[in-house]
Symmetry: C2
Subunit: 397 residues, 2 copies
């Protein structure tokens, strides 16, 4: 980059998403790379009815500018749902509507992160958050995820090593690992953060999409005064609207609102009104029940074809919800190399380095999405991927 660009731009590694898109644009390619919800289940008819209704009832109003913080009845709906589901005391005045959780990362970065600030993330970590926080020139410390959630001892060590700005986590069916925190781990993490007075940034896009076990409360429940909880309608309703939210303490909320005003005034007002109308006129829980049952089947099918086509010695997670399976090849095998072999066989995934700061780590792992391919595609794709893995491992013998 020449001197025209700001220094922070050097921190953008040309994103994996962009690289991967160039492969998946080929219609011959079966892609397990995307994190797309299955569009078959979008409530198209209900959204159309909601759009017609809000335009008929208040057309000039819904097409006009609105307040930066977002449509109050929509924020009220979100607050009410937290109360009903988890007995959490959410005030709409502490909720800001954002363009998906991704914008919440950006606004959090803008109001909280100075260059060189240390952020604690999971290992592996969601690449979208890594990407957003990178632009604020943060330093990253990644703490391993175990089967039942974060390695709390490693967290304690990391926090004892020096001050940090925040801890970012996806506690339910994490992207990319598919792993979830047990109730015990949620409490332990809250305690650790409390004792170090560290801000929790809890990102929960998938918590509603649990196929097995009981819903668990957000970590914020055990750390109410020092947490930002992020949510989104992208996985439960539809992602195209770009509607998510952040629920924070008052002081941080006010800073996020000021930053959002400078960033884009407000999220699409029409979309907020349509979403609110959809939620008011329909039973979201019934819709989510349908999603859960569908995604559960898709997960089961993917696990069955992994069993069938992927060689021994390859480990993988068995998520109880969400959209992702994380696969780990034997030590030393490169999933970046595998990506190229697989691309030749017309199948794609996201290499594990994407989920590691600076691309350091995760070299033998990869993420698979089971949400957006049908059974025939999933079987054929896994057959190809299994063969590509065989080939890669054979070369190493």
């Amino acid at each position: 980059m020449n001197s025209l660009f700001a220094n922070r731009i050097g921190k953008i590694h040309r994103s994996f998403v962009t690289e991967i898109l160039s492969v998946t644009e080929n219609p011959e390619v079966i892609s397990f790379a995307g994190g797309l919800p299955n569009s078959v289940f979008f409530p198209v008819r209900e959204i159309a009815e909601a759009a017609t209704k809000v335009l008929r009832e208040d057309g000039p109003g819904v097409l006009q500018y609105t307040t930066t913080q977002g449509y109050l009845p929509l924020r009220q709906y979100i607050a009410d749902r937290y109360r009903r589901k988890y007995d959490l005391d959410a005030d709409p005045a502490d909720i800001i509507i954002t363009n998906g959780s991704q914008q919440a990362f950006d606004l959090i970065g803008k109001v909280l992160i100075d260059p060189g600030d240390r952020l604690v993330l999971e290992r592996p970590a969601y690449h979208g958050a890594l990407q957003a926080f990178s632009l604020y020139e943060a330093d990253f410390i990644q703490v391993p995820l175990l089967e039942d959630g974060l390695d709390v001892e490693a967290l304690e060590q990391a926090l004892s090593a020096g001050p940090a700005k925040l801890f970012y986590t996806v506690p339910n069916f994490q992207n990319p690992s598919g792993l979830s925190y047990s109730l015990r781990k949620r409490k332990q993490v809250a305690d650790a953060l409390h004792s170090h007075n560290l801000l929790l940034v809890e990102d929960d896009p998938y918590g509603e999409i649990r196929f097995e076990g009981e819903d668990l409360p957000p970590i914020k429940k055990f750390l109410p005064d020092n947490a930002v909880l992020l949510g989104t309608f992208s996985k439960t309703v539809a992602p195209g609207f770009r509607l998510g939210w952040a629920w924070a303490g008052r002081e941080i909320t006010e800073a996020l609102v000021e930053a959002k005003q400078a960033a884009d005034f407000h999220s699409d007002h029409f979309a907020q009104r349509v979403m609110h109308r959809y939620l008011a006129d329909n039973d979201l829980d019934a819709h989510i029940a349908l999603l859960k049952s569908a995604y559960r089947k898709q997960r089961d099918f993917m696990l069955s074809v992994i069993e069938k086509y992927v060689p021994e010695g390859v480990r993988y997670t068995r998520p109880n919800g969400g959209m992702f399976v994380y696969m780990t090849l034997p030590e030393g095998a490169s999933t970046l190399k595998l990506f190229e072999t697989a691309a030749k066989r017309n199948v794609a995934f996201v290499p594990g380095v994407a989920f590691h700061a600076g691309g350091h780590g995760g070299g033998n792992s990869l993420r698979l999405s089971f949400s957006s391919s049908d059974e025939a595609q999933t079987e054929e794709g896994m057959k190809r991927l299994g063969a590509a893995i065989e080939e890669l491992l054979a070369e190493r013998r």
Copy 2:
């Protein structure tokens, strides 16, 4: 602010918009403060038809994630319109869809501005741009606007004094001044920027809303290789969608796309598709002709009541388009003080300090919007404002 917040947050002066909103929330108040288009003219029926149509034709598609750069046919429409109106050679690959021009400011700040970089702006300058660029800790140099556009001599002096990162301008019916650049001034400014190799950031939300005189080409026409041209559908169609664009060179466009991916993935896909459908199925020029005729009448009426109620010694601009009149009281009169007097009389405006970096300057000026009040409101509001000005000036005698 405590140490939780990033240093850049100290740069946000609690925005005037927020302060003013607390006054204008009172329904008794007649507000000339907002920059709202008149919602009476929003094409509600046509938008409803477009929404129904895109959901019927491709419901799952329009509710799914899409590419960061934006819906290609919408970018193509924008490129075609530049070609048709100004014979400009726009390539959709160099256009990115943003959440209004405001997001373009934010992304430009993110990819171009390092703390301490000098930016050249107009005096007065659009406060939304000041607000966005402030968060990247830029230093501002403001060059006076004259009746026919920028003071080019003052620009040359500013550029000779030291290196700058970019020049930001609103050449048509500027917010807040209502002033426009003559064709001659456009060429002179392009020449000056060219000789100093300075990037032009040209913001043109109001260019389509000209009531008098001939449309003039963007300054970018005379500086094609070193300019970012911003546009928006907020003033021509409806602002609630938050749909604007930036047309830049390839290298800057690519950086803006990477930054937008980190900021929010993409603008509302549904809104982009509805907007494109609306534009494809309707005659935008006919709609704009209606807006022009309506806003022209509103401007004429506001000028007539200013003439009637505002005391002598107060100067004001006579814009040929757009939505704003800028008023200047005698030297030494404070429009911040006037704001309080006027608030007691239930009328509001934006004090001139909002358009000056750090609030330095513009102390005796104010912005009035004529777009969103009807004749009865405008007359009553100006009667109140005139009386408030009388009172303020009488105190100074």
